[in-house]
């Protein structure tokens, strides 16, 4: 510590140690913070249509077009270390060739951000003003973890590798989430209880079937 350069080096060196220790502590608080997510999901409308994977394709596949209801409470996942929460709904059905495997495809997803990312949203000025007003003076906004969707259209039409989907039985919708923290580990929907992290309550729909192929003028002109 005899000269300026040595002192600067020593202070910076110990600063990195302290920064790492504080970051580790912050990551650790995630483990003791309770996570009690709840969700109920149900299919409201489903049809199977024929279509092409892209405009120039000559291949025709069957696509399931779904609508669903989702009522979820993820507010316990939004704490000071939550950067954003990714919520997605998948449809899964038994694999025709194997009893151990299931086919699963994501039909809808959303990103729930924390208030500090509001200015990055790609929305109009009026909606932006409203969004910013809703989070004024808040560092975290757990109310954003509440989702209430009725008859929501799926974002993605799904198909199967063999292109056949009509008249598939025992399809189920599942809700999943992925927490992206500021510091610490990425975590997905837990498959088992872990301390204060509870399994999601609900989050699985009743079984339903994909109907027979819809033959309609609209579907035909599309294909």
């Amino acid at each position: 510590m005899h000269s300026t350069v040595v002192r600067a080096q020593n202070v910076f060196g110990f600063f990195t140690t302290v920064a790492f220790a504080v970051a580790a502590l912050i990551a650790f608080t995630d483990i003791i913070s309770p996570r009690t997510p709840k969700a109920s999901v149900s299919m409201s409308k489903v049809e199977v249509v024929r279509g092409r994977p892209n405009y120039y394709s000559t291949k025709k596949e069957e696509y399931a077009v779904l609508r669903f209801n989702l009522n979820a409470d993820f507010s316990s996942l939004m704490n000071w270390n939550t950067k954003q929460l990714f919520v997605y709904v998948s449809a899964s059905w038994p694999n025709a060739t194997s009893s151990e495997l299931t086919n699963e495809a994501v039909i809808w997803d959303t990103i729930i951000t924390n208030p500090s990312a509001d200015h990055l949203q790609n929305i109009g000025p009026a909606a932006m003003k409203k969004l910013k007003k809703s989070a004024i003076g808040k560092t975290t906004d757990p109310s954003r973890g509440k989702i209430n969707l009725k008859n929501q259209k799926a974002k993605y039409q799904i198909t199967a590798p063999n292109g056949k989907l009509a008249e598939t039985n025992d399809v189920v919708l599942k809700v999943h989430y992925n927490i992206q923290p500021w510091v610490g580990l990425l975590t997905w929907t837990p498959q088992m209880e872990f301390g204060n992290w509870k399994m999601m309550k609900g989050g699985v729909s009743k079984l339903f079937n994909f109907p027979a192929l819809k033959v309609k003028k609209a579907a035909e002109s599309k294909s």
Binding site: V5, V18, W80, T139
Partner: protein
């Protein structure tokens, strides 16, 4: 004249401090950084505000840099008293390699 200026500039740049000052800066740097880190975590956790924690940590580090790095006069209050080079000091009790220097 130029040499003198250069010498002053060099001293300013090197910023040497005495041994007591080195002990002080060592302790000061460790204590200030550790306290800033602890405060940033505790305040951030109870306010549930990670940005606040970040800025307290960075602010504490900036304060530590300011307090420790420049050669403040406090760190030079007990400079080492070197023996003079002239022969008017009594060196009869100074021995080098067994020979009296007196």
């Amino acid at each position: 004249m130029a040499d003198q200026l250069l010498e002053q500039a060099r001293e300013l740049f090197e910023g040497q401090i005495d041994f007591e000052g080195q002990r002080l800066t060592e302790f000061g740097a460790t204590a200030l950084l550790a306290i800033a880190g602890a405060i940033s975590f505790i305040v951030g956790y109870f306010r549930q505000d990670i940005k606040l924690a970040l800025f307290i940590g960075l602010g504490g580090t900036a304060v530590t840099f300011l307090a420790v790095v420049p050669p403040w006069p406090v760190f030079n209050r007990r400079p080492v008293k070197w023996l003079s080079t002239s022969s008017d000091v009594d060196t009869s009790d100074v021995f080098v390699d067994g020979n009296s220097e007196g």
